[in-house]
Amino acid sequence: MALSFLKRLWRVLPLRLTLVLVAVMWIAEENYPLSHFPMYSNFTDFDYVVFVADQNGTPLPLEYVSLGTRTARLKKQYNGLINKIRKDLKNPDGSTPQKRDLTVEQRRPAGEKALTWLWRTIQSKSTDRLEGVTELQIYQIPIYREDGHIVAPDPEYIASIKIDGK
């Protein structure tokens, strides 16, 4: 009885492909070309940006020196690593620590790995625009609300890698 109703229901269901795809994409999450499009699915009260500087701490124009990699792309790389670190670092109550609660030391491995990834990507294209640069440094600027205002304090130094011998 129930089965025959379900069969009839399936037959008359509008937009079956849409419904199936929504279910498949939701289950598959991020598996290209499937995606559950989770970007901006939760507006948190804390976020941050990262940028890259040279050995003197002078910010580099990332898109120019890397021939196309933008800071948002580098942040995706860094943020993915930060999330892995968070999962490994459990709070005493078993919960996962918040991004804002991680110390610079805890974030350092993510910074180093993100810079290594960036450097490999630049090497695969051209290092010409990094003439005179011997070190890549990564900085983070936290952004949050304080007393109703949005605050973006001074950048925090996270990590660096040497890039001698291009």
């Binding site: 929504v22 598996n31 290209y32 499937l34 970007m39 940028f51 910010p59 948002a72």
Partner: protein
């Protein structure tokens, strides 16, 4: 009794949300549009490694060979060939899998760089994948001696030249685009524990973040001192507005989410589809302006499959063909 009422209600909606009849000229311009979008998307920035395998790379497939310029050159020529065949409506059994395969290969490599991925090419690749599957379903049905579609009176006509096949190919493409929007609404609701609208008061934080990210893309570089364009100024003004009036931003985001959730209503009629497409494009434009994000490919897909530009520009040709047939 109650069950029957539910079934007849759904049946009525199934009829209301059925496919629009597509003719050959409109299908031609839709193929031109989709082929153009694929070509614009294809020369993606490629990478030498797959540090965070995604999709097929998770199953062990290695796409790093695409980083070799010589191999990428061959792929580009293969794509050009496939696009020409697709636009010409010839050998789609070869052209569609080729286009889909190349898009999946490059997209998988690009998205295998970090745990967080980019989302600009998935809807395009999914539409190609759905068209490919639909073609092979029809081919298998014919090979088994069955009609390719529910309206396939003459098996001597090529499947891709039958009106019902391409009408449904377009219908399934529209549904795929709807699914991409609708699953994002599911994500918003589930991942925020239903508090997405409430939490969107934090939207201005994203604006500040994007502004800073843009700054550090060009700081101390040749583009740093470029003169502010009209768009730059409009972006600054819009950002300031939404930071000063966060509730207006919240209302805008909530209405955008409703647009996404009910985008299947575009299938009610061509006019509704056109209006719906324009509204979604305006929504994307506002988000682009305020947040400095780009939705180029979504907007182009909407232009092709929702707004009905291919239908509009194909009308003179359709009229000519009709005249020729009656003469």
């Amino acid at each position: 009794m109650e069950n029957n009422r539910t079934l007849s209600f759904l049946e009525r909606w199934k009829q209301k949300l059925g496919p629009f009849s597509v003719d050959a000229p409109e299908w031609f311009f839709m193929r031109v549009g989709l082929a153009g979008i694929v070509w614009m998307l294809f020369p993606l920035t490629l990478f030498p490694n797959q540090p965070n395998p995604n999709g097929l790379a998770r199953l062990g497939m290695d796409f790093t060979w695409l980083n070799d310029p010589a191999k990428m050159q061959i792929c580009s020529w293969l794509l050009i060939g496939a696009i020409i065949l697709y636009v010409a409506n010839r050998f789609l059994w070869l052209a569609l899998p080729m286009m889909t395969g190349l898009m999946i290969a490059t997209g998988t490599l690009t998205n295998s760089q970090s745990a967080e991925v980019s989302h600009h090419s998935q809807p395009v690749t999914l539409i190609l994948l759905v068209q490919t599957i639909w073609l092979f379903v029809a081919m298998i049905r014919r090979a088994r001696g069955k009609p390719a579609t529910d309206d396939d009176p003459d098996p001597s006509i090529r499947i891709i030249a039958t009106k019902r096949w391409f009408t449904l190919a377009v219908y399934f493409s529209v549904q795929t685009l709807c699914a991409a929007y609708m699953v994002s609404v599911v994500s918003k609701m589930v991942l925020s524990d239903g508090e997405w609208v409430k939490n969107s008061a934090n939207f201005p934080i994203q604006l500040v973040k994007n502004d800073l990210a843009d700054h550090y893309n060009v700081v101390n570089g040749p583009k740093q001192d470029k003169e502010s364009t009209f768009q730059d100024n409009a972006q600054k003004t819009a950002q300031k507005f939404f930071i000063d009036y966060p509730n207006i931003g919240r209302a805008m985001l909530a209405s955008g989410m409703l647009l996404e959730a009910f985008c299947f209503l575009a299938l009610l009629s061509r006019w509704i589809s056109c209006i719906y497409g324009v509204m979604l494009i305006i929504f994307h434009e506002i988000i682009s302006l305020v947040m400095g994000l780009t939705f180029t490919y979504n907007m182009l897909l909407l232009t092709v499959f929702f707004v009905g530009v291919p239908w509009l520009i194909s009308r003179p040709i359709a009229a000519l063909l009709a005249k020729k047939q009656t003469a």
